[in-house]
Symmetry: C2
């Protein structure tokens, strides 16, 4: 019989930063322990320290592990996952696993083709420590059948004690026939049992799972309500009901319905499941992590994201290369990047007075505080992500300098780009900070500031957030990442002129006015 | 190329009583007319008059049809559906279709095995009138392959001009291999093009649709956001994106995303899509209409419904048959069935006075008004659906007579059933009213009243509803249905003693007190 590895806490954690209330975890464990088709419960990641907040089920303190083991006794086996790319050495692996001996049965490694050899070493060490081991080969939709065989051959040679090889459809992009074929190839190449982990972007998680089963996979991943990264997973309630129906296995539907109801409440808050952008990411075989980030930020509308996904070659530069003009024609001694925070209003007098004294331009990453700077005899440069410039219409102001990015989802009208006060930012303006699909507003402002005057860049109104919500979490992380990478790469560090919760050097605007930029 | 028939207005109408705002319909039509893979837009049902409220897209006034035809011009073909069981004669068909000539291209008939021959006659007449015709063979999960061939053979013989034969997975219960097989059988048996209409109970609508396409189906039904009866359909946005990706057909994703967003707002209100009960109904091959009704009524919790679905043989009668006791031991001249409405409180003095004068028992279909009747020296009989009797605990009252039904989702404890004041209602107590999966409370009360005294049954507190909501819509329809069927089948009609919005004869309680039951 095919059995299930339920990884609700591990894969679902992507939505809650791996925080789950104890009550719901207890109910979940009780329900899982009574479902006959569940063989493993995967309770989270075990991870080295990361530079951001991640909860209990991302790090799994040993007391949590012991509590869960005691609670479910030995009714089920317990599994944890380790991201191969985060676990950089054998010593780190020993550190992560040694206190789990006797409590955890199975250790699974998420393996990408890039870190495959390293994963084999980790698998061998994990076996030496007495655990069962699974190698979860990610991105199988991108790996041709010959390479699948080659990876399996390498596992047979390099880590022959591996207990399970999982084929993971990371992009939710596989079709049933393709899954069958790949599972069969894997089974022909080794005697190691095969598992399958699907995603539901194009609503084929269940169809692909039963296809993998037909082809001989013996263990399949699922999560309650399909809770999981991006479009989510095969739902445990469907697969349990399916096995129950097929094998005439009695299950307690009342308990199952109860836990489904509890996770549905969380689903109503976070909203996993597929949607048009996820469908397209699956059909076009694009990574859903990026989609998830873009959707959560709510900066771009669904259409913009679809446009990006669908128009593989983005082109916003004007057709006529002669009309291209660079921002290096602008000449200022300092730049102050203006965010959307309230501290701008509190310090407006100081900011305006500083600008007038020191040939400083204001570069607005947000439009929120622009009004404070209008008609004040200062230079205002405004960053417009997306196609806002197209929509400006009567709000177009010849006294403002507009910036657009060549990395954005929407094409801007050629005639607008040719206007004398419109400039296009490109990656060349700021090396080392080009990993974003679209340029975030702070990065756009920073690109302009760096090109204009790389040694004196100030920030104002990047206050940070009092309360963390799903939407502002990504914005905060993104801004901090931009600040950190900039400061790491360039000699002159960024300085905030207003109070901020970001990790950044702060100086008082009044100190600069009195003592000058260098000595302020 | 496989083409799409989008039936959002027709199949989605089950959730909105076929009411859609004009603005959203206009947007929908504009979007559909620009998607190259859409061949037909099915704009609703054309139906003979029904005894309940059903909206514009259930009846399709000819002005609506003309408006839509003008709006989409001839960019797409238009389809309507007729329920074969509702269209009882050729004359009725002519009446329904004659004004559609020139505006509608395709007429589809929903056909069950029970009315198959009639459907062939309707199909022939429809062809005579100049329309294209599709026969939509429902419940294919329940029809074995031999019978599929036999139905197709009969179409080839009896209605050879049929333009499409659709295989409809009404229960959302088919698997991809099964769909492939059935489509192939249909194609081998005739040259008539085959279509497929899936439901998403077990999340196989997409997998089954592409399986049908692989087997040779040329037209597939879908709806925006999968809006459709019960667990819903294949979503148009997924299937369009799939075809776009596969055939490199450019589509306007922005428009598609916009209409998806608008229907998602309606989805958030009505909540179609699958859930554990729908999944089980699909896996167990049970009709989802009944599930949808039970869920909407909110009378039974999800667990109760699952229990019913899963325990195929319901057994609530006591193990020891000797302890079974019939309600015929009770002896009253009249019965008054008490509902949950406010008119009970307004008329309480009259009701109590009537009961004391005339040897009348009160049978409470609802517990809402019970308090008004306690300690008043009258006999109170209380109907308890579900397993409320198990939970009564300290509220158990030896002065009350409790009734439970043998058609209910939960087993009641044997020891409780043996109590002298607990009676079990069975179908024998009231013939002709046994089509309900579970006995509704009014039906329970009516069963008891009929057995006690079939000639003098009164109602009080069945007020009806001021505002129609999704939840009370089913309750209202159910109560009216019970009243109608009872009155049709039995000589002594039901009489309401309090004002009511139901269609039922009303007499004043005070008239009965003064003039007696016969002359009152």
């Amino acid at each position: 019989m095919t059995s299930i590895l339920d990884c609700t806490l591990r894969d679902g954690g992507y939505y809650t930063d791996w925080d789950f209330e104890k009550g719901i975890v207890d109910d979940y464990l009780d329900t899982m322990s009574q479902l006959p088709m569940i063989e493993y419960i995967e309770i989270g990641y075990r991870s080295p320290a990361q530079d951001k907040y991640l909860g209990q089920y991302f790090y799994l303190p040993i007391d949590t592990v012991k509590y869960i083991r005691e609670k479910i006794d030995h009714s089920k086996k317990l599994s944890i996952m380790i991201n191969t790319k985060d676990c950089t050495s054998i010593e780190q692996l020993e550190y992560l696993l040694s206190d789990c001996i006797g409590y955890i049965d199975l250790v699974r490694f998420a393996v990408s083709p890039a870190n495959f050899d390293h994963a084999l070493n980790l698998a061998n060490k994990t076996k030496d420590m007495g655990f069962e081991v699974a190698l979860n080969l990610m991105y199988v939709s991108q790996i041709n059948n010959g390479d699948i065989k080659s990876y399996i051959d390498q596992i047979v040679t390099g880590a022959p004690r591996t207990d399970y090889i999982y084929l993971v459809d990371s992009f939710g992009a596989c079709y049933p026939e393709e899954v069958k074929k790949k599972v069969r190839i894997a089974l022909e190449a080794s005697n190691i049992p095969i598992g399958y982990h699907g995603h539901d972007n194009i609503q084929l998680a269940f169809a692909n799972s039963i296809a993998s089963e037909e082809a001989g996979a013996v263990i399949i991943d699922s999560t309650i309500t399909g809770m999981g990264r991006g479009a989510g997973n095969l739902s445990t309630e469907l697969f349990c009901s399916y096995i129950s129906n097929k094998k005439d296995l009695v299950i307690d539907y009342s308990r199952l319905a109860n836990i489904v109801e509890r996770f549905t409440e969380i689903k109503n808050e976070y909203g996993w499941g597929t949607s048009l952008p996820y469908m397209i990411s699956g059909l076009e075989k694009l990574p859903q992590g990026e989609i998830m980030r873009l959707l959560s930020m709510k900066r771009y509308n669904t259409n913009s994201i679809i446009n990006l996904l669908n128009e593989k070659e983005e082109k916003i530069l004007p057709d006529d290369e002669d009309t291209f003009k660079g921002i290096e024609t602008l000449d200022f001694s300092n730049t102050v990047l203006i965010g959307g925070g309230k501290e701008v209003a509190h310090n407006i007098e100081g900011l305006l007075s500083f600008a007038k004294k020191t040939n400083t331009a204001f570069i607005h990453a947000s439009l929120k505080n622009l009004d404070y700077f209008m008609k004040k005899d200062v230079t205002n440069i405004v960053c417009l992500p997306g196609d806002e410039l197209n929509k400006l219409g009567k709000y177009y102001n010849k006294d403002i300098i507009y910036l657009i990015s060549d990395k954005q989802p929407n094409k801007v009208d050629d005639n607008i780009i040719k206007m004398p006060n419109v400039f296009i930012l490109t990656d060349e303006y700021l090396p080392n900070l080009n990993e974003f699909t679209f340029d975030p507003p702070l990065l756009m402002a920073l690109k302009a500031a760096f090109k204009i005057q790389g040694s004196s860049i100030f920030l104002a109104g990047f206050d940070g957030y009092d309360q963390e919500t799903e939407a502002n979490k990504y914005l905060r992380e993104e801004n901090q990442q931009i600040i950190d990478v900039y400061n790491k790469n360039f000699e002159h560090k960024l300085i905030s002129l207003t109070p901020t919760k970001y990790n950044i050097k702060v100086k008082s605007i009044y100190s600069l006015i009195v003592h000058g930029v260098i000595n302020g």
